[in-house]
């Protein structure tokens, strides 16, 4: 069966022939990836949401807004280049990854803030734990161990220099102001039982 196209891009604009004659597919390099963190409510910790591809960190924040805070309540958004995130291994057999972290031999005098994230269960999202002051990733891991280790095992640590993270500005947070108005995207907004009932009654009459 051949049919006339129903796609206006094809039927009206006639953008292209349907044959693939584009022999030289340009080898486009990848945009780098950015890890995205969202905060659902003011009193909730930031959580890893996923990644975006973007040419730079400012664009990453804009893409992240569309991709990760389009549908649900959001009160904070942050992105960091994947290459700027240091991770430990994922620990085996419920062992606390902090047990494998040792005190660094030298301690630096120049310190800066590092943000620390925990994977508390395999398959869940990595969640913000808090920040520490340190001069290197090794030191940050050690400081995190002192500050955040408790009796619950942590499977995987992510460490990011705060300077490598771009947070959404306080005054830009009105991008989420209209979220609640878009009721047509909620399953709850589609009630139909009354209509079905009325229809059935009509049929049985």
């Amino acid at each position: 069966m051949t049919i006339q196209s129903l796609d206006p891009r094809v039927s009206r604009l006639g953008l292209t022939s349907l044959q693939n004659d584009d022999a030289e597919q340009a080898t486009v390099n990848q945009f780098p990836t950015f890890q995205v963190f969202t905060q659902k409510k003011e009193d909730k910790p930031f959580e890893h949401g996923g990644i975006v591809h973007a040419p730079n960190i400012e664009m990453a924040l804009i893409f992240a807004k569309e991709q990760y805070s389009r549908r649900f309540t959001c009160s904070g958004l942050a992105v960091a280049a994947t290459t700027s995130v240091k991770t430990t291994d994922v620990s085996e057999n419920k062992e606390d990854i902090y047990n494998l972290i040792q005190e660094p031999a030298v301690s630096s005098s120049e310190k800066e803030p590092y943000e620390i994230f925990h994977l508390n269960k395999r398959g869940k999202q990595t969640v913000y734990a808090g920040s520490v002051e340190a001069g290197s990733f090794e030191e940050a891991a050690w400081e995190a161990k002192k500050a955040f280790q408790n009796d619950k095992p942590v499977y995987n640590l992510w460490l990011i220099r705060r300077n490598d993270i771009l947070f959404i500005d306080e005054e830009d947070k009105d991008i989420w102001a209209t979220l609640g108005d878009k009721k047509y995207r909620d399953a709850l907004d589609y009630k139909a039982t009354d209509k079905i009932k009325a229809f059935k009654e009509e049929q049985n009459r």
Binding site: I3, Q67, G123
Partner: protein
């Protein structure tokens, strides 16, 4: 939305021989305990390969699946339906992004996946090679194709690969809106004027065979996927998912006074399962291999988007920015 089913290649006998038996045993024990596999964990090459294949096909299906509905946005009846349809199509493209990201953690770049889609090397759900002739077709798609996708995605979200499960958790939450929206649109037509009823009945007649194809060939015809089920890559058999779909939706179709174009369709009281006429599996094979009503157009439209956006991407590319595999 997505059609699962027959997207697996039969694992070859020798594919497992190169694996370290001790690591393999630990890996299988972890899955057995119900723990998820994170991207940096050791995994058999076959697990990686089949997961890339499955998640990539799922991502392609979201993108291509947005096309039949997307073309109806401009013609949707009324402002409210337009808004809802736009939001749904946007969700679907967002699903593709989430899924490409999950597949990327396994080592295949998004760019390579998109090229393989356009060149026809990788597949997407067969159902999107059929046309949406009328508004009622889009209502049937939103209700029943998304319903099928939900059966499939809920099963897969209990699978073993952590990034895929995380993506699906979010996707399933958004799908519930698609399903309700679609059901609402179908009810509106089915309880409307005779013309509207006729329109929705005809759309259902057109989509029934593709819906039956949606979960893939019957188990007795399918490739052996025991190892994939043991590794929790494939979570339910094609027939089980099809039965689940029929169980949930046939009564809902019938209660609207609509008929299903299969006179053998009925619940068998003895087996507790649905009896039905096998759909034409030769047609399924033919369409999946490229010879459906719309295969060429779907890929052409995707290629146009790729070509027309290329200059933007090239202009933004910086050679010093290098790509690494994302974390999770």
């Amino acid at each position: 939305m997505y059609g699962g089913g027959n997207t697996f290649e039969a694992p070859k006998q020798n594919e497992m021989q190169a694996e370290d038996p001790q690591k393999l045993a630990e890996f299988e024990a972890r899955i057995e305990r119900g723990e998820k596999i994170e991207p940096s964990d050791w995994m058999p090459a076959l697990y990686r390969k089949q997961l890339i294949r499955m998640i990539e096909q799922h991502a392609h299906s979201e993108i291509i699946g947005a096309l039949p509905e997307g073309t109806w946005i401009t013609r949707a009846p009324g402002f409210r339906r337009k808004l809802a349809l736009m939001a749904k199509v946007q969700d679907e493209v967002g699903h593709a992004q989430l899924l490409y990201s999950a597949a990327e953690t396994l080592g295949k770049s998004r760019e390579d996946m998109l090229s393989d889609l356009i060149s026809g090397k990788s597949k997407y759900s067969n159902i999107f090679n059929y046309p949406a002739f009328t508004w009622a077709d889009t209502a049937v798609i939103a209700w029943l194709v998304d319903a099928g996708a939900i059966v499939n995605q809920l099963a897969n979200s209990r699978g073993s690969y952590a990034p895929y499960s995380r993506a699906l958790e979010r996707i399933c939450a958004e799908e519930s809106f698609h399903l309700k929206y679609g059901h609402h649109a179908v009810i509106h037509l089915a309880t409307g004027t005779p013309t509207q009823r006729k329109m929705v009945q005809e759309a259902l007649n057109r989509w029934w065979a593709p819906l039956m194809h949606f979960f893939g060939p019957p188990d007795k015809m399918s490739v052996h996927t025991e190892v994939l089920m043991k590794w929790k890559v494939k979570m339910a058999t094609n027939d089980d998912m099809r039965q689940q779909f029929l169980d949930m939706y046939v009564p809902k179709i019938w209660e609207l006074g609509l008929t299903i174009p299969d006179e053998n369709l009925r619940k068998n009281e003895e087996t507790g399962k649905w009896d039905y006429t096998e759909p034409d599996w030769e047609e399924f094979k033919r369409v999946i291999n490229g010879d459906g009503p719309l295969n060429k157009e779907r890929l052409a439209v995707r290629r146009i988007a790729e070509e027309r956006g290329r200059w933007v991407r090239n202009a933004l590319l910086k050679s010093e920015a290098n790509y690494v595999t994302p974390l999770a």
